[in-house]
Amino acid sequence: MQPYNDIALVAPVSLPYERRSERSAAWFTGTAFARMLDRAGLQKHDIDGLAIASFTLVPDSVVSMTEYLDISPGWLEQIPMGGASGPVAVRRAARAVQAGDAEIVACIGADTASADTFADLVENFSRFSTDAVFPYGAGGPNTVFAMITRNYMEKYGAEREDFGRVCIAQRENALAAGTAVFNKPLSMQDYLAARPISEPLHLFDCVMPVAGAEGFLVMTVARAESLGLPYARILAAGERHNAWPDDDVHFRAGWSLYRDQMYEQAELGPGDMDFLQTYDDYPVISMVQMEDLGFCEKGGAAEFVRTRPLTWNGGGLPHNTCGGQLSAGQAGAAGGFLGTVEAIRQLTETALSNQVADARAGMASGYGMVNYDRCLCTSAVILGRGGE
């Protein structure tokens, strides 16, 4: 795979999440776009590439957005990969810039949330889901991931407290960042006493649907430096979809198939990562990512989280340093950008009071799209601090 030489990620932007919004996904997209331009000191016509991931932008698309934003880009991409869309946007946009198809690409994940958007989304998510999952309680991903979680617990001896450790550390990170929808401390007692949603999942294992947007700009390092912008570099990236289709119950995913290639390309190992931003739709999936991305052995994540601090300043593996979706809420496809955007913030020293000291390299991974009994899409990037 060709290296991603000299590509810069700049202007990480997160719009504050809202529990409910009357505004459209187009507003969240456009407002994130404006904020990114402002951060970078650019005019909208400087942007000649646009990549968007959104569930609720329909009936509009990235095409409609060009008219709403009154821009005339020469490169467009719509990424239908939900929680995997952030690292995938990095890959697509980086290649476009490398090939000269675009000079500056704006990558945005944005979704709104009204009383009905989440229920409507779940009802019509896929044909398999409509026929064979939704009629069993309309629980959406909770039903499927409850069963994935139980299987993981029985297979590897993980306990509820282990998932609790992930959630509690993320809440501490969220409190440090100060931006999350959930802004009260979470104790193990609170975690264990929470009401059941779909056993073994309880309230704090599940993400709250919210409205929000996340985005960043992709350009050459030369351009970023000429603009005087702090940037992160892409050291490696990968994606794999519908991996391990013969596993009856999902316990590993595509990351396991390309993580070695990524570390080789980055000339770094998991021990060199100053942080890890996983896709945390459920804590079990963060633990599967710790395993499949090589931070511990397969099945070893429970032991890993028992012994390794996961907070931003705990001296272990800073994990989901802004609190992740389990604290911030899940802003649809923006949730797929959250980890990537936080990774860029950390590497450009623009995080809030949750800045990991001397962060030089880190990983962000994505995971999305429950078609039937698991998510199909996986993605990951290794990023490094710019100028090094």
Binding site: E123, N124, R127, Y136, G137, E154, R195, I197, V249, D373
Partner: protein
């Protein structure tokens, strides 16, 4: 019936075949005429060999519970009225993994179960699973067509 809450009625066009089999008291799934792979959920072509002749044939309704959950929350008003209920992933002896309602007696990983298709209150077939030779309907009377 006016005002009565109903379970979701939307299904793909292929689901009519599932309804017809359940009405006849049969457990029929698509079996690829090219390679014999049993498909579930329904497809228009075989996911293994990509052939598009998938006749509906009677297959074994027996299987094993891979995992399960007890659901205590739903955003759907009908399902809120029948909480809590149990859902399982069942590895059918004929191949596919099927998600279905489980009776309380089968809430163990590895339980042997028999799957039965029955019409719910919307008239669409749902699959229920319980110990072989038993009738799973009694535990789900609020879900099923009277």
């Amino acid at each position: 019936m006016t005002g009565q809450l109903m379970p979701p009625a939307s299904r793909s066009r292929l689901w009519q075949q599932v309804n017809e089999a359940a009405a006849a008291g049969l457990f029929r799934l698509q079996v690829c005429s090219g390679c014999g792979t049993v498909q579930y959920p329904p497809q228009e072509f075989c996911s293994h060999c990509l052939a598009d002749e998938l006749p509906w044939e009677q297959v074994s309704p027996m299987g094993e519970v891979l995992s399960w959950t007890t659901t205590h929350a739903s955003t759907n008003r009908f399902f809120k009225g029948i909480l809590p209920f149990h859902v399982g992933m069942i590895k059918l002896d004929c191949g596919p993994v099927l998600i279905g309602y489980l009776v309380a007696a089968s809430l163990h990983t590895g339980s042997r179960v028999q799957v039965t298709g029955m019409p719910d209150k919307s008239g669409q077939t749902v699959f229920l699973a319980g110990p072989p030779g038993t009738d799973p309907a009694a535990e789900y009377s609020k879900l099923l067509e009277e």
